[in-house]
Amino acid sequence: MESEEPTKQELSRRNFLSVVIAAIGSAITAILGIPAVAYLVGPALQAQTEEWTELGSVKKVETGTPTLFSITLQHQTGWVTSQEEVSAYVLTEDGQNYVALSNICSHLGCRVRWIPDQNQFICPCHNGIFNKDGTVVSGPPPRPMDRFPTKLDDKGNLFIKRG
């Protein structure tokens, strides 16, 4: 019986060390692993900034005629600054309420154009035709032109929210 004592002790020492090594190993893995996951997914999951974008003064908008506003936005992607052209047709019927229509066709993303003679928007890619309020007249577009939420400040500048 006595001879078994040391064996037992040795086993428990071995088990103790195994547990300690496993614990330290897990701790190191977690300390490195959790930041690694955050590092990998962090920039991808960054919240998209949904800010109001200023289009400009509504003075140039004539009642009943869609007017094109084009602005250039600076984008910061990682360490690269790029420019994006944002365009919207602004329409008002009463000089109070403004509608901002995206000039991107709801069909396949071509740019639609306002043709004053026909009083319609025309998409040159597949002959999509829209009314001045953006509703589909004919052609393949599955839904009306997209509308941006708008707001006016007290100086008469129009803002849109893109999303």
Binding site: L32, P35, A36, A38, Y39, L40, G42, P43, G78, W79, V80
Partner: protein, 219 residues
């Protein structure tokens, strides 16, 4: 259930014999200096993991390298940590390698039958120095640029072939986009492949030949 799966796998893979050979092998009574090799291996693994993570954002071109490094350090969550571990780990690699080598030398552990363990270890030290040299350029800041200017200029003083060595190292007469790209390629492909190969041989030899006991007074 776990034991069953473990037995099933062992019948087919024989991994318990491998485990025993690697982790439960006979070893003489040794001291803490014998942990330097394992410490080096641990830091090497850490360097591999953090290095792979850094390549997710780092771009090795003159117009993006510095900005991408700043982006990693300042913008990416824990980017400062990943880069910091890689940065300090690089120094730790050199220090640990040299200490490990000194221990082996001072204990006379390089002697028969372990000469090849020693020689592959020396090659591993050279590989680690190569990592340090090529990695130093990658942040593409002033320090990196001029350190590499000097480092490659040293090759220039070799008689006859010096100027050719300099051009081969730089990918041309001057330090340029080509230098950065080839240092990056060597740093993340050539040297890691060599490192993996030599670590495998080195550890195989350690397991095959065992480790030597510390020299005794009466020997």
């Amino acid at each position: 259930m776990v034991a069953k799966v473990s037995d099933w796998l062992n019948e087919r893979l024989g991994w318990r014999a491998v485990w025993t050979a690697v982790f439960a092998r006979q070893a003489p009574k040794v001291n803490w200096f014998y942990t330097l090799g394992s410490a080096t291996l641990f830091v090497a693994i850490s360097q591999i993991v953090t290095g792979i993570l850094l390549t997710i954002y780092y771009v090795p071109t003159p117009d993006h390298a510095y900005d991408s490094v700043v982006y990693i350090t300042a913008q990416v969550p824990f980017g400062w940590l990943i880069r910091g571990i890689h940065h300090w780990g690089a120094s730790a690699m050199i220090v640990l390698c040299v200490l490990h080598l000194l221990r082996t030398f001072l204990y006379g552990a390089y002697k028969f039958p372990r000469e090849m363990t020693w020689l592959t270890g020396v090659v591993l030290l050279l590989i680690v120095i190569g990592f340090g040299f090529t990695g130093y350029l990658l942040p593409w800041d002033q320090k990196a640029y001029f350190a590499t200017t000097i480092g490659t200029e040293i090759a220039n003083v070799v008689p006859i072939v010096g100027p050719y060595l300099l051009r081969i190292a730089r990918g041309g007469q001057d330090i340029s986009a080509l230098t950065l790209a080839r240092f990056f390629g060597v740093h993340i492909w050539v040297l890691p492949a060599a490192l993996g190969l030599f670590i495998a041989v080195h550890i195989y030899l350690v397991i095959r030949n065992g480790i030597s006991a510390p020299p005794q007074k009466d020997e």
